[in-house]
């Protein structure tokens, strides 16, 4: 296990920086902190917020990416959420969607349940697991400079792309987006499909 590096990045700063360049990109967020982060960075009809289904964010992104091969899809999720669906790295590696990027906002803790430590604080390297599963590009970011370097990969590099961004556990206020699942999916489908949304 590598010696622990000091982590200075604030999760809200990182997510705000990522979505600043979003254009018409579709974003799926995972239960729970990344859903609040995306809301804090600015609500958008191209956001699909998961408030449940822990472990399902990356594969929700895969289904969407396969249905919309001409749109870029970015999954923003937490380390605990990704670990619960860790097999989905293999599923995505094999499916090999060119338009999908998975970005883990990794604070090494279960933020919604009392800040218990996750495996990533104990040596588990998610980017290495994604690489071993066949992702086309993987990386880990520790600094602001690293974040600037990985953002083009999230948006442009042929996927599947996996980026792990190490963030600290500083307090951030809760910012809650839409909560009603039917409203979230209705708005998202209208944004993506237009008139076809209600077929």
């Amino acid at each position: 296990m590598a010696a622990k590096k000091k982590i200075t990045l604030n999760r809200r700063d990182v997510v705000s920086r990522i979505v600043r360049d979003r254009g018409d990109v579709l974003i799926v967020t995972g239960l729970g902190s990344t859903t609040w982060d995306a809301a804090a960075a600015g609500d958008h009809s191209n956001n699909f917020y998961l408030w449940g289904g822990m472990g399902g964010a990356a594969v929700t992104g895969l289904g969407l990416a396969r249905a919309q091969p001409d749109r870029r899809v970015i999954v923003l999720t937490g380390d605990g959420e990704m670990l619960m669906g860790i097999g989905s790295l293999a599923t995505i590696g094999v499916a090999a969607p060119k338009n999908l990027a998975v970005c883990v906002i990794d604070n090494q803790h279960y933020g919604e349940t009392g800040m218990q430590e996750t495996h990533t604080g104990h040596g588990v390297d998610l980017a290495a697991m994604a690489a071993a599963a066949g992702f086309a590009h993987t990386g880990t970011a520790w600094t602001k400079k690293d974040v600037e370097a990985v953002i083009p990969h999230l948006y442009e590099t042929e996927g599947p792309v996996f980026i792990d961004i190490k963030v600290n556990t500083d307090y951030v206020p809760m910012v809650l987006p839409l909560r009603d699942g039917t409203a979230i999916r209705g708005r998202f489908r209208e944004a993506v499909l237009g008139d076809r949304a209600h077929d």
């Binding site: 579709l26 799926v28 699909f48 998961l50 408030w51 449940g52 289904g53 822990m54 472990g55 399902g56 964010a57 594969v59 929700t60 992104g61 895969l62 289904g63 969407l64 990416a65 396969r66 249905a67 919309q68 749109r71 669906g85 097999g87 989905s88 293999a90 599923t91 094999v94 499916a95 699942g181 039917t182 979230i184 999916r185 998202f188 489908r189 993506v192 499909l193 076809r196």
Partner: protein
């Protein structure tokens, strides 16, 4: 399976495949089962169906939601033992009132030899119903295509999760004396 009570070259897998095409299914995801082997082969051979092999069944629930968010109808294939893996993930379908079409080949019921299959097989329908799904159990191969088509219509027109359980009576069971 080495030997079954039913004929090995049954027609129903091809009928299911045609039904999925008739229902405009664009994505199929699966965890393999011997009962689904022919259908999986047919899906893999069709270049208009996007197939996804899963490591565990609940991935298929999330994948189906994502596919539908992007405008694709999908079907999820699994064995009954995989149903237990899906329960919490089914909540994302319920809460977003989204379609789900699940085709489940049954173990642990008609003529099962492996006692370890019984607990999940006997609880499959109840577990799905408790999770809020509409469940059809088919024991006659001649009813399969119609039932799956009807299930697809409820799923995609009425935005509901529907499971069709393909009975072990249809699939046939391993006769361990031979």
């Amino acid at each position: 399976m080495a030997t079954t009570k039913k004929k090995a070259a049954a027609k129903w897998p091809a009928q299911i495949f045609k039904t999925l095409k008739d229902a405009d299914i664009a994505q199929v995801s699966y965890v393999p089962d011997a009962g689904h082997a022919e259908l999986i082969k047919a899906c893999l051979a069709d270049n208009r169906i996007k197939t996804t092999r899963l490591t565990t069944e609940e991935e298929g629930i999330a994948l189906s939601l994502g596919a539908w968010l992007g405008g694709d109808r999908s079907a999820l294939l699994m064995q009954s033992s995989g149903v237990g893996n899906c329960i919490n993930m089914l909540s994302i379908i319920q809460e977003t009132r989204s379609p789900l079409l699940m085709l489940v080949t049954m173990r642990g019921e008609w003529g099962e030899f492996n006692p370890w299959q019984i607990p999940m097989g006997q609880g499959t329908a109840r577990a799905l119903e408790d999770a809020g799904m509409i469940v059809y159990h088919v024991d006659d191969a001649d009813d399969l295509a119609d039932t799956i088509y009807a299930a697809s219509q409820i799923a995609f027109n009425s935005y509901r999760p529907v499971a069709v359980l393909i009975g072990q009576k249809v699939i046939g069971f391993k006769d361990w004396r031979k």
